[in-house]
Symmetry: C2
């Protein structure tokens, strides 16, 4: 709402003057949304330098401080990365620093098992109609086709994670097991460069289970080994679900680390 768009705000004038309270949205939130739209539209791609705060302020006809507050929030949400003296960049899963931001499994003994590079073995990548639970998780129609990627991750030669990854067929057109196997980058980095999809946030649901036959085979464990089942939904810009993943973790020498604040 806000009868006046940011572009119409005159300098020196308080924004949103005279607004009725239920429709109030701070200027910096509107700016944030405009930046978000540029990100989603691909105007600036992962790794790109975006315009400076003063440039954006001029474009949106607001003060630099207002742009700053919008960018502050986007930086805290890991959508942008600020680098003093250089500028502000679109965040990417390809940066060494933030690789595997979503992988919370850590070695009990931090000295051992550098988790990267891990052995990643793609079992298969198949195209099929979305099963009901997958369709629900990804907000797709049942008739929609999806990819299922099945893989095993090993650390120090020990198979530790077995997972099924479900992706919308249209968006990931051309995905193959071979392509996944050959690419040495993190999967989410490949998604950015090859399919224009950036994963922004995710939600995980954890429970303890006993393995089924498949899991026993791929993780080489007995049927009475307790395992951690991790169900993840990953979202791209504007909270669109883009990936559904069921992982089974072996947690005898690794654990899932979570900070509560």
């Amino acid at each position: 709402m806000n009868a006046s768009t940011p572009l119409e705000n005159a300098a020196h004038q308080p924004a949103n003057a005279g607004l009725v309270s239920p429709f109030f949205s701070p200027l910096y939130q509107q700016i944030k949304e405009l930046v978000l739209q540029s990100l989603q539209a691909g105007e600036w791609k992962p790794g790109d330098l975006i315009p400076s705060e003063f440039e954006l302020a001029a474009r949106f006809k607001v003060s630099q401080g207002t742009v700053r507050k919008a960018i502050d929030e986007l930086a805290k949400e890991h959508l942008l990365v600020r680098r003093q003296g250089k500028g502000t960049f679109v965040a990417t899963h390809a940066e060494q620093q933030v690789q595997f931001r979503f992988l919370k499994l850590k070695p009990d003994n931090p000295g051992l098992g550098q988790q990267w590079p891990a052995d990643r073995h793609i079992i298969d990548c198949t195209r099929l109609r979305a099963p009901p639970d997958v369709a629900r998780a990804l907000a797709l129609r049942l008739s929609y086709t999806v990819f299922r990627v099945r893989r095993v991750l090993s650390f120090d030669g020990v198979p530790t994670i077995f997972e099924d990854i479900w992706l919308p067929g249209a968006t990931f057109k051309g995905l193959t097991a071979e392509r996944l196997s050959k690419d040495t980058r993190p999967m989410y980095a490949m998604f950015e460069s090859d399919f224009g999809i950036r994963m922004v946030r995710a939600q995980e649901r954890l429970r303890a289970i006993l393995p089924n036959e498949d899991v026993c085979t791929f993780l080489k464990v007995s049927t009475n080994t307790a395992l951690l089942r991790v169900e993840r939904i990953s979202f791209t810009y504007h909270d669109s679900p883009m990936e559904w993943r069921i992982g089974v973790y072996l947690t005898d020498t690794w654990h899932y680390l979570n900070d509560l604040s």
Copy 2:
């Protein structure tokens, strides 16, 4: 550092002028630390209204905007709570809104099982010398005495969580099973009012296990039920460890929910 303390900064003058870079700390960080010290010292207790931004600005001889930035960070870390029109308050685990902020176990079917009030059964509360692992987790000497609280939480009559809670003996002097049983508030709320300890953040390590005899008894499960083991260290102000807790969760109809961002 900063040869000049906040109290010596003259208005209209940029702070820290002429500082050598390795020792640089922004003014608002110094203010944040001062506020933190007042919180830790108990000058303002959980639930209290703290002085307004202008009052604090006057006290610290900085501008209101600088105080604002310090408070912004403390609010984001859930140490303070801002309420427009009313003021800024010291956060507390007693508020309905943030109760059980650290309990991530949620029902698979949200309709059922309101998790509060849960049945809380205290099994015992014993005083003993800190075992090595407890002493390490709480950064105590081995000779130190600690309390061990053992309890079971049930939801809808189903025993779901069994946990051992370890607390430093001196700080929690006077803790008894009876006192824990009679108090109807969340445990962390009681810690605030009765012992002056506010839990600020925590870290959890999760793994899947099979139950030992004790767990089988208290959760009424068979030895081949996979369970979620949650190890938690809780910290009070300035990252002092104050509680070590080992929980075992039954996750057949509940799950551990985690947001990744």
